[in-house]
């Protein structure tokens, strides 16, 4: 089985750290990155992505703070078994707002509501 990949686009307005964090999180939630598996060392991933070491280090730190990674000196980044915490009402309100903005953007581009709902359902179920 091919190893999972991440892809960044430096021309996007989204910061590179955020792009790396978001894509790694998707792979972690989907289960493409299994617990106890090792992520590439910071320097290796930075060289492959053509970014500064600190960018990757910061991305790993953010994921470690969310409980996804164990960063121990000399061991690299190890994926942790993580229990999903219960989202607070405030978190839910924030996600709803972001979804509304995204759905509005999609509707504005002419994508039918049914297609958007089907996409969202497929994505949500794919994460389970």
């Amino acid at each position: 089985m091919a190893a999972p990949e991440i892809k960044i686009d430096a021309s996007f307005s989204t910061p590179l750290v955020r792009q790396i964090v978001d894509q790694l999180r998707v792979l972690l939630v989907e289960g493409s990155l299994k617990p106890n598996s090792a992520l590439p060392p910071v320097r290796r991933l930075a060289i492959d992505l053509g970014v500064h070491f600190n960018t990757v280090a910061e991305a790993y730190r953010q994921l470690a703070a969310e409980g996804w990674l164990d960063l121990r000196h000399g061991r690299g980044a190890i994926v942790l078994e993580r229990e999903a915490p219960a989202a607070s009402k405030r978190d839910m309100a924030g996600y709803r707002q972001r979804l509304r903005e995204l759905v509005s953007q999609m509707r504005a581009q002419g994508i039918p509501a049914a297609n958007i709902a089907a996409e969202l359902k497929a994505i949500a179920e794919g994460f389970e």
């Binding site: 990949e5 892809k7 430096a10 790694l24 590439p40 492959d48 053509g50």
Partner: protein
């Protein structure tokens, strides 16, 4: 032809070969690179590309011709070694000079970049050769140490084109282990360069494995070159010397 004349011809041939190799350097690199700068394939035929190669050629050709003249006019081993070293030093500075000049023409990385999140990569099977070669030099040193009494008090360390010894040294820690220590340091440096090249470049780069192999092969040549002193000290030539075949007044 005298030995000295033969030596001068060999020194000139080495100098000429080194100069030709250095002149060919811009052409043996990957077509996307010029003096270590990623400039893209279409850059070489452009005016800045041609100017850069011309300037580098001149930078190498002038000291090379001067070195060859120096070897002919002042036939002396020190002059030959200095001329060779000077050419190499000028080559490095010429390369760095062109590298700096071409930096503004370097292509930017593409905005979209991918990376694989596989497990940490392993060195190819021949990567362990670097340590084996260091072990070989250590074993050679240990062999010399344990067979110290068999090393003659004076022994040949250099031979002319006919195979007759033309330089001798005394049995001492410096004389016996010096070449091995120097060879070991050189081998360690080459191994470090090989590993730095492997771990410091992008995964799946087309030349990555080849570069590791070439650097380790260079390390192997160095290790065998300096390791063979053990054989030289303790085998045929030494016994010939003991038997008076290689006569040398002490």
């Amino acid at each position: 032809m005298t030995n000295r004349q033969a030596t001068i011809i060999v020194e000139m041939a080495v100098q000429l070969l080194a100069s030709l190799c250095l002149l060919a350097m811009p052409y043996i690199a990957h077509r996307d690179l010029l003096f270590g700068v990623p400039v893209g394939r279409g850059f070489r035929p452009t005016e800045p590309g041609r100017r850069s190669v011309r300037s580098y050629r001149l930078w190498i050709a002038v000291p090379s011709v001067a070195s060859l003249l120096g070897i002919i006019l002042f036939p002396n081993p020190i002059v030959s070694a200095s001329a060779f070293l000077l050419t190499v030093v000028l080559d490095v500075t010429g390369f760095v000079r062109q590298n700096r000049k071409l930096k503004p023409f370097a292509l930017q990385l593409p905005p979209v970049r991918k990376a694989e999140l596989g497990p940490p990569e392993r060195l190819p099977w021949f990567g362990c050769l670097g340590l084996v070669l260091l072990a070989f030099l250590a074993a050679a040193a240990a062999y010399l140490y344990t067979h110290w009494d068999r090393i003659p008090v004076r022994y040949p360390v250099h031979f002319d084109l006919t195979g007759a010894p033309d330089r001798w040294t005394d049995r001492s820690i410096r004389g016996v282990f010096g070449p091995l220590i120097f060879g070991g340091a050189l081998a360690v440096w080459m191994l470090s360069a090989a590993l730095a090249g492997w771990y410091g470049s992008r995964r799946f780069g087309p030349m990555r494995k080849a570069m590791l192999g070439v650097t380790l092969a260079a390390e192997a040549i160095v290790a065998f070159l300096f390791g063979q002193v053990v054989i030289m000290y303790l085998t045929k030539r030494t016994s010939e010397y003991h038997n008076g075949l290689c006569d040398r007044p002490v």
